[in-house]
């Protein structure tokens, strides 16, 4: 299983002092409800793609919110946009829009 967000050459800690939050803040401005995520994991549990691959929606959007954008685009590309996650989300997050937005915003970010 690929270790998303981690490799030998990268420092281990999520460094909130140095991370660039501009793209994350833009995402949250457009989809403020994403801040209400309580990390219950329902989205990932029900995820059609997540049950076939290492894709973990909850983890990817959390990393993005922490200013960790590496591989976010590639990960989100595994999503089939089926919308099950949106149906089960107890916070009513527009998860499909989060996927689209992350892909649109981070497509060329630090790739």
């Amino acid at each position: 299983m690929p270790q998303f967000g981690f490799s030998i050459s990268q420092p281990r800690a999520v460094n909130l002092d140095t991370n660039d939050f501009v793209p994350a803040e833009k995402l949250l401005r457009e989809l403020p409800e994403l801040q209400s995520c309580i990390a219950c994991g329902s989205c990932t549990a029900t995820c059609t793609a997540g049950n076939l691959t290492s894709f973990n929606f909850r983890k990817v959007h959390t990393l993005v919110r922490r200013g960790e954008y590496r591989e976010a685009y590639e990960q989100m590309d595994k999503c089939m946009l089926c919308g099950k996650c949106r149906l089960v989300c107890p916070r009513g997050i527009n998860t499909r829009a989060v996927v689209m937005k992350i892909k649109r915003e981070l497509g060329d970010y630090q790739r």
Binding site: C40, G41, C43, A45, T46, N51, V88, C89, P90, G92
Partner: protein, 334 residues
Amino acid sequence: MGKQVVIVGGGVAGMQAALSLKARGAEPVIVERGDRLGGKVAGWHKLFPTFTPVEDVLGPMLQRVQEAGIEIHTGAEVEALVDGGVAVKGGGRFSGDATVICSGFDVFDARRKEEYGYGIYDNVITTVDLERMFNEGHVATVQGTAPHRVAFLHCVGSRDEKVGAHHCSKVCCITGVKQAIEMKKLFPAAEIYNFYMDIRMFGPGYEELYRRAQLEYNINFVRGRISEASQAMGGKVQIKAEDTLIGRPLKMTVDMLVLIVGMKGGASNASYAAGGLVVADNGFMQPLDPFCGNVLSGKEGIFYAGAVTAPKNIGDSLNEGSAVADRVAEYLKL
């Protein structure tokens, strides 16, 4: 003859309010929609966090109510608030110099979370069903077997935008821990899993019980909410969740899935709203303020006590029963 106070609801808050008011010389009248006193507590088996049998709490209370000679009307469902009292279904009125609303909460209907399969699959039950089984002294799967694996799911009907509930029902965490332990006691060989988003142990002795559940009873706590259930072979239930601490989807088959259902505002709250009282966004009644006005409705002569204003445990409801007597006494100049 003292001043009459109409008490809507004969659960623990209502009974305590009646007892305290009687002690102050008022004449409380309990108007109860069910056929007996005791409210939701009466349907329970043992109480958290001490595993005290319900009858040890309710029994003495009921006796005191009886001894105090408090007027009780069962089978009387309040339909509307009227001037100086309440009107009940099928005609009839109860009048008093003050009204205390203690009609409590409703249990969330688990059928509304269709993906969990309550009412569709065998062996998907709620905490309420499990207490009934405890009371009946027979806990088993629909197939009549002893469960080897049981999963409890926290926050069903609480903290869930999809059922219009933003609030935390407060007592379900500890209920889930209590019932998990009780199941383990009944079936020592069984594996018990609690699926949770947050464990909120707000009361005295609660966190300690949680710790005991982990250490002494080997209850497995998995941080992740179950997204859906499906029927597996032999009446088993397959559940899907994410183990968020690992970050991977998790699947397991259990003999029994217990949905820890939350509290929601009582259906009768709509009739109070029609009578000029305020229902809060969460569906419970809105007290004047959450501090010194916690038992005041904002409308003269009408008071609240217990879970009608928010999810509460038994202790809090009893306290409000006493507190409301204070404020009613003040109002009636007893």
